[in-house]
Subunit: 293 residues, 2 copies
């Protein structure tokens, strides 16, 4: 693999809101870009700027030095990597495959092991920072897998993110992302409950937010998502159904490691209730509607 | 009441870590200071700088234009304000009494009503910001009660704090503080659970904190108290037993207003378990010991 972007072709699978922005940064940096995605129309803008289309992961892998995936669910990750037409069976020798989907640590370990059998490095590298972080190339990227492979693609991560850390072997990136989602799960419950209490005891919740937002209660969830709750802006920065998927993975892993996490379990139940009440496609701040709908 | 500090005598009851620092700012600003506290030794430093000692709230009230209280529990507040030797029966005509203890909103309403019968304004004005905020005169102060009385003592609040807001009638300051504690309660559960997960899945929790602290999980509880958890520093910034008192008040009020707050209820149970396990005198970040002790 060469050292200038022109010499390193990158394949990208999964062109949702975040994936398209991330692939766009790689293309702008000069990497020959190869794309494949379930809905071809989502690739139109990148194709117009010279990206190469492939029908399926296998053909894309055969043309790419590095492949990045940003798909939906662990079942999608498994199919894209290990399926008959998957990346692992068709990757070039010496390729680095990077799954940036938030997915199961356990699956990441399994895929890395399958890759190793074929001499292909597979990293798990989920992100946080949402659509804005993806657009502005300011994502936090949490990486697990072979340290030498991480060093080889560090500049590629740098094209998409800002806080980029190797957290350990295969699965460590996913575990780090799970820790992030576990903190957020109970925090957002606290924010909803505090603001619902303020509203229902007759206070002006926006004034309360101003009074408490700079102190020990302050943080991204209160100051950014809390403000959206109070404006009634429940549009998706991050989908409720994706968050439920993440919390389910976290809870499975916590059980597997025998770590009792009652806050996480309760938060997951509240988000499931929200989804059952028609909130699947809301942003996570939509949890406020359960309390003060 | 005059307009320069020398013309406005201030009484202060409750010279704990925070109270002593707050009273010291008032004395330094030039207010004649009157003090009374259960343990007289706690007044020594202020008396050495010229404060006047009084045996009990009644005598202190008779000498003060403004009285500030910073005591422990609602039962202490009730005794100091409404007891036979209390502030309300002995306050000067036109005095303003300010309870800065975190206490019951309901009790604040009752005390304000008793004060009104005697022409004495009583404000509830709990704070956040802890010992550091008190020392540096950077407290957030959340005020409930008569708006005109609030304006009369605004400069006195300004001597002790930074973000000072009138939130509504009697009890509104306490309700605002409850909203603050409700947000914190579940947030700290999330922080403990995320870091415990990181530790028990074999990650380096300090590296995880660095990777996630600047993103959507970030905030005072993760970035400041989370870091203390990982260092094993469980010393009190804010005592577990005081936090349990606050959460009990919040839960009572939530029930009275028929606001179901499952996150708060669960967090209170976890802190009670911590207290039962010998953690009463730890700081709130000591909750981490329940998960990864």
């Amino acid at each position: 693999m060469g050292t200038s972007p022109q010499d390193v072709s990158v394949g990208f699978i999964g062109l949702g809101i975040m994936g398209e922005a991330m692939a766009g940064h790689l293309q702008a940096a000069g990497h020959p870009l190869h794309v494949s995605t379930r809905t071809k129309a989502k690739a139109d803008r990148l194709l117009a700027k010279g990206a190469n289309w492939h029908d399926g992961p296998g053909k894309l892998a055969a043309a790419s030095d590095v492949v990045i995936t940003m798909v939906g669910y662990p079942s999608d990750v498994e199919e894209v990597y290990l399926g008959k037409d998957g990346l692992v069976p068709h990757a070039k020798a010496g390729a680095v495959l990077i799954d940036m989907t938030t997915s199961s640590p356990n699956l990441a370990v399994r895929i890395a092991a399958e890759g190793a059998k074929r001499g292909v490095a597979v990293l798990d590298a989920p992100v946080s920072g949402g659509d804005v972080g993806a657009r502005e190339a300011r994502l936090s990227i949490m990486v697990g897998g072979d340290a030498a492979a991480f060093e080889r693609v560090r500049t590629i991560f740098g094209t998409m993110g800002k806080t980029i850390m190797h957290q350990g072997g295969p699965g460590a990136g996913q575990h780090t992302k799970m820790a992030n989602q576990i903190v957020i799960a109970s925090t957002i419950v606290g924010v909803c409950e505090g603001l619902a209490y303020a509203k229902k005891t007759g206070l002006d919740p926006a004034k309360v937010l101003e009074n408490i937002g700079g102190g020990a209660a302050g943080g991204f969830q209160l100051n950014v998502l809390g403000a959206r709750m109070l404006k009634g802006d429940f549009g998706p920065g991050f989908y409720v159904h994706h968050f439920i998927k993440d919390l389910g993975i976290a809870l499975d892993e916590a059980e597997r490691h025998q770590i009792p996490l009652p806050g996480l379990a309760q938060a997951k139940g509240l988000f499931e209730k929200l989804a059952a009440n028609g909130g699947r496609e809301l942003g996570t701040q939509g949890l406020f509607t359960l309390y003060a709908g």
